[in-house]
Symmetry: C2
Subunit: 169 residues, 2 copies
Amino acid sequence: MRFRIVEGDLEAFIEFDREASWPFVSEEARKGMSYEEYGRRHRELVERLCRLNLENRFFLAVDERGRTIGAAWVGIRIDTVDYVPVGYLYDIEVREEARGMGAGTALLRAVEEFCRSRGVKRLALQTPVSNAQAIRWYLRNGFRVTRVYMEKQLGAASGEGRARAAPPA
Amino acid sequence: MRFRIVEGDLEAFIEFDREASWPFVSEEARKGMSYEEYGRRHRELVERLCRLNLENRFFLAVDERGRTIGAAWVGIRIDTVDYVPVGYLYDIEVREEARGMGAGTALLRAVEEFCRSRGVKRLALQTPVSNAQAIRWYLRNGFRVTRVYMEKQLGAASGEGRARAAPPA
């Protein structure tokens, strides 16, 4: 199977990503949500995140029959520590049956080239610690782990643990 | 030294955080930027990030003389995977000379209580992997590492590494 990388628009990206992202929605969240409702929220979220960036670009890997086999979305945004523009890779995804042909690497190169064309010197992303396959792939492609993302589950408040938050000073 | 936790406004938080964050700006970025310019960008960034959230809260730890010794900023935002509201701890900081008295823990409790009051079940944050002290503190306070944040430095494009990005399809 041969493929080429093309620049796509928001609609083409949403169409591909809506389907690709559905399996990553937690079971709990899926139970209370139809696919249509999910599609509505997915679009709203992508559009909302896009508006936060200085610029967005979508790249598609397209096979010989014109079918999209992978996609990437990068946004240029202002780093919250250095106040310089950095690239943030919101998504890079290749259909399972189309992996191992270099489509992901080609998408990543298109993203990097776009960032360089904007004078951007850093590309960042987040991925779950449980996704060892993705982390290995990013390491092989020149990424390094620079921060950790931590989460705490909030149970019901215990009486003695309550904070002494006072009204506005 | 005794302290109390109060809810603060955006201005009180900006004042504290502007000073506390300056040492974290990279040397390179500091060279090309006066403190005034930094202050302008800092305010712009905090205000911009605030607008992305459904709701923001600022808590201050204040000592007996009325001096702010610590601060926390939490925003409620929609999780990009589950589409449910989660708390994001943008900042929790205690002055070095005021550490070890529990001000950080008390600030964290105020943040958690606020999140619970909004029906939010998850609190998240990011911290550099190099900050082992912060990571230990968060682990002790019930946080777990769920994602990694990875970065790649983009050098100049090499001829052979160029992607075949085509104009919009």
